[in-house]
């Protein structure tokens, strides 16, 4: 078989490796669901194959030596120890191979940087330890929401079984339409994070005070999961990215539903809610936002205990202050920017009545709103 042909066969064989992707024990990168991802995959395979070939040649020579040039075989060692010609050869040839690699690498990189002419812009903000997505549009009230890890503490701490998408599931995924060039504007609220979806081949650092951009055009409907890829504190491993790529029609109706949801949210802020409603929503908020540091039973951990705490049992205004503004110099963040009035009212009501606290206090969204106004 000619050299070219064997290369082709090897390439064809390895192009089936993507089928190993997305499986348990995946050994290779996935070409993913975008053109640029497929280009990156091809570049990856090209470099890998060249390295494997060079490695086999080089180690082949070495192992030949190990077998045949042994003292125990009685060989007399040669004494040659230099050759300028050979040094030039094995400097020039690798240099030329590198130039060959640099050409496709350059063209792929230029495409990665081509952020122009996008059809949809999304602002992504990294927080400790969740993502916020905002669909940039001309209305004064863009669709925006936080995307939190949905895996339970019980699953993480092994008291419950782990689901199939353990650590890669969120409460509110990012939804984008397929076959649409989407531009991501990426920044951070606190420390440096990094937004990565392997199957979309997008990774960009989220830097506080600075804006980065990246783009993607997904060609297949589906759910794509990624993670934060820059150490950002204790829960760096617990802030996944989930993207739903859907048809344009599905995207439009999802957006409409989201806008309606936002309108309801704003409306509900002036409504009086029952204790049951507040407790139920409060528990959900607690288990997403508070449980990692304050414990499933309010027993504390990284954060202080809520059960029997002075804050939860004492003045409601102090409780609001700590929750909305955070506590400077500690890990207690300012949740004021992350929770709506309704969510904040619910979680504070929950904390004051669960874990044996039983204060009977009810905090309404309007109370939160007026506290925010000072």
């Amino acid at each position: 078989m000619s050299f070219k042909k064997s290369l082709f066969v090897a390439g064809a064989a390895m192009s089936s490796w993507p089928l190993l992707a997305l499986a348990q024990n995946q050994v290779n990168m996935s070409p993913g669901v975008t053109e640029i991802g497929a280009e990156i995959y091809d570049l990856h395979m090209l470099i890998l194959i060249i390295c494997v070939i060079i490695g086999l040649l080089v180690f082949g020579v070495m192992f030949y030596s190990i077998i045949y040039h042994r003292k125990s075989r009685g060989v007399v060692p040669a004494q040659f120890h230099e050759s300028t010609k050979v040094e030039i050869a094995w400097t020039a040839v690798p240099f030329l191979i590198l130039v060959g690699m640099a050409v496709p690498a350059t063209s792929t990189l230029l495409e990665v940087y081509d952020n122009d002419e996008a059809e949809l812009d999304i602002l992504i903000t990294g927080y400790q330890w969740k993502w916020r997505y905002e669909y940039l549009d001309d209305s004064g009230a863009p669709v925006a929401f936080f995307s939190n890890l949905a895996t339970s503490q019980e699953a993480i701490y092994n008291t419950e079984d782990k689901g199939q998408n353990y650590l890669l599931e969120v409460d509110e995924p990012l939804v984008i339409p397929v076959d649409t060039k989407v531009r991501f504007l990426i920044t951070a609220n606190d420390v440096i994070h990094s937004w990565w979806v392997p199957e979309m081949a997008v990774k960009r650092d989220a830097i506080p005070g600075f804006i980065n951009e990246a783009w993607s055009k997904v060609s297949e409907e589906g759910i794509y999961r990624g993670q934060c890829t820059e150490l950002c504190g204790a829960y760096h491993g617990f802030m996944p990215v989930v993207v739903h790529a859907v048809s344009q029609e599905e995207f439009d109706s999802w957006m409409a539903a989201k806008r309606a949801e936002k309108a309801t949210e704003l409306a509900s802020a002036s409504v009086e809610l029952s204790l049951d409603a507040l407790m139920s929503e409060g528990e959900a908020v607690y288990n997403t936002q508070c449980v990692a540091c304050h414990g499933a039973a309010g027993e504390g951990g990284v954060g202080k205990a809520i059960a029997g705490s002075a804050v939860a049992l004492g003045d409601i205004n102090t409780h609001l202050d700590v929750s909305i503004k955070g506590v400077a110099g500690t890990a207690m963040q300012a949740f004021g920017g992350q929770l709506s009035d309704t969510e904040m009212a619910a979680v504070i009501t929950y904390q004051r009545n669960a874990f044996g606290n039983n204060t009977g206090d009810v905090v309404q969204p309007a109370d939160v709103a007026s506290y925010r106004k000072g």
Binding site: N25, Q26, N28, M29, I40, H44, I47, I54, G55, V58, M62, S65, I66, R70, K71, S72, V75, V76, P77, Q79, F80, H81, S83, W90, P94, F95, L98, T106, L109, V112, Y157, N158, K162, N165, Y166, L167, L168, D190, V191, I192, S194, W196, A201, K203, R204, D205, G209, F210, N212, R225, G226, T229, E230, L231, C232, G233, A234, Y235, G237, V302
Partner: protein, 526 residues
């Protein structure tokens, strides 16, 4: 210099006040091995937690302290001091000098290390815990959002940095001024050359690290905003400054390892090193290039495309001189008369596994592909191949090679071979699967992972425990050798070994070359 020597002092004061390069080398080596065990213990905690999905043993915050301290202790406490220890023992003997140029500074260089590391380790017991921002300590996680112990971390880095700078100054001053007559630069053993070049790198970039942590200190305590956008600063500036140090740092770690292997392979091939001059030029090229490639650690930070392309091309270039060195080592073996004692096994292991690490390094240099590799386990696999199978294997080879000269006793060869094979197999089981999980999407510095990464992580953890256990075997072998090993008295312990250190008695006397040797101008360099 006084001509009147009584031999070493007795008791603890010998070690506290010694200015003898052999004593100081010994202290560096034992200290670095203790740090290797400490850093290894942190690694065992990491791999134990990562044995299965879910949090079983430690909290996420503590896990981050473990990964941070593992990196800091291994890089600054184990690898770097171990090669300084080798430099101390060997450089004076290899150049025919009686000691280092500045023996008292040499003592200080060592003795500030234990307090420095004690301070770093003590942060585990401070309010808020030890540093948990990774050994690369990016701002603002390491400034605005750091635990109070960060101030002690900064102080410890200053102390360790001072030790390295002083040690490097000593090495340069020694090599430049104290070579025996006839020992020209191009007759220097390659171990001396690689250390000379490394020492220049250290003097140039260790102060940059000191600058970076000083700027952190100022941001944290004195209201400056070098790395804070709010005050007009930039977190990315930290990364540029850190990696301007950080990239030469990894060559600081590996160049002496290259030097060791360049001594050992010719000895067990019974053939001179192939391409001596090329090896020197290649080492110098690598050192020069190391200054101008730093931002390949930052490909995802949002650099303009021109910058990204430049750093990609410059980084790819480093493969050329590195390849030249690998070809030269193999050509040294080619048509030699090879034997495979333990030092040679570790050197060949280095050659194979470091080359694999070099290949993954080339893959990582390709910027668009790196968008998929960056901050995943693919990177973790890469740097453990070059640092463990590279630097640590080389260091281990060095100990087996020179221990008989230092102690006058031979180590147990069977145990040495077992140590090699268990290490080799354990290392690969630990780190090869990490390439897979990285490519499959597992980020680094995470205490828990999605289910599809479970099997390879379990494999990796098992390998880690095997590798860790084999180091205990090594420790046993070294101690047993020193205490009761079979005595050796040939000056040339290994029949193929060349170099001035193999002309002194075995064990090496407390003082050697008090009278400079005559270096045969026609002699082959070691």
């Amino acid at each position: 210099m006084g001509a009147h020597h009584h031999g070493p002092a007795r008791g603890i004061t010998r070690w506290l006040f010694t200015t003898n390069h052999k004593d100081i080398g010994t202290m560096y080596l034992w200290f670095s091995f203790a740090m290797f065990i400490l850093g290894g213990a942190f690694a065992m905690i990491i791999r134990a937690e990562l044995f299965q999905p879910g949090m079983q043993l430690v909290e996420p915050g503590f896990f981050n302290q473990m990964t941070t301290l593992h990196g800091l202790v291994m890089v600054f406490g184990a690898i770097m001091p171990s090669f300084v220890g080798l430099a101390n023992w060997l450089i004076p003997m290899m150049i025919g000098a009686p000691d280092m140029a500045l023996p008292r500074m040499n003592n200080w260089s060592f003795w500030i290390l234990p307090p420095g590391f004690l301070m770093l380790a003590s942060t585990l017991f401070m309010e808020g815990g030890a540093p948990a921002f990774g050994w690369t300590f990016y701002a603002p996680l390491s400034t605005t959002y750091a635990a109070p112990s960060v101030t002690f971390f900064i102080f410890a880095i200053h102390v360790l940095g001072m030790s390295s700078i002083m040690g490097s100054i000593n090495i340069i001053a020694t090599v430049m001024n104290m070579r025996a007559p006839g020992m020209s630069y191009m007759k220097l053993p390659l171990f001396v050359w690689t250390w000379l070049i490394t020492a220049f790198l250290l003097v140039a970039v260790m102060p940059v690290l000191a600058g970076a942590v000083t700027m952190m200190l100022m941001d944290i305590h004195f209201g400056t905003s070098f790395f804070s956008a709010a005050g007009g600063g930039d977190p990315v500036l930290f990364q540029h400054i850190f990696w301007f140090f950080g990239h030469p740092e990894v060559y600081i770690i590996i160049l002496p390892a290259f030097g060791v292997v360049s001594q050992i392979i010719p000895a067990f091939s019974r053939k001179p090193l192939f391409g001596y001059a090329s090896m020197v030029y290649a080492t110098a090229s690598i050192a020069f290039l190391s200054f101008i490639v730093w931002a390949h650690h930052m490909y995802t930070v949002g650099m303009p495309v021109a910058g990204e392309l430049y750093f990609m091309y410059a980084t790819m270039l480093i493969a050329v001189p590195t390849g030249v060195k690998v070809f030269n080592w193999i050509s040294t073996m080619w048509r030699g008369a090879l034997s495979f004692e333990t030092p040679m096994l570790f050197s060949i292991g280095f050659l194979v596994l470091f080359t694999i690490g070099g290949f993954t390094g080339l893959m990582l240099s390709i910027a668009p592909a790196d968008f998929q590799y960056h901050d995943t386990y693919f990177v973790v696999a890469h740097f453990h191949y070059v640092m463990v199978a590279g630097a640590v294997f080389s260091m281990t080879a060095a100990v087996y090679f020179w221990l008989p000269k230092w102690t006058g006793r031979m180590y147990n060869e069977t145990m040495g071979k077992v140590h090699f094979w268990v290490s080799f197999v354990g290392f690969n089981i630990t780190f090869f699967p990490q390439h897979f999980v990285g490519l499959a999407g597992m980020p680094r510095r995470v205490p828990d992972y999605a289910l599809q990464f479970a099997d390879f992580n379990m494999m990796s953890s098992i390998g880690a425990f095997v590798y860790g256990a084999s180091q205990i075997l090594f420790l046993y072998n070294v101690i047993a050798t020193i205490v009761a090993g079979e005595k050796v008295s040939d000056e040339k312990v290994w029949d193929g070994a060349e170099g001035l250190e193999w002309t002194v008695p075995t064990p090496a006397p407390y003082h050697t070359f008090e009278v400079p040797p005559k270096v045969d101008t026609a002699a082959a360099h070691g």
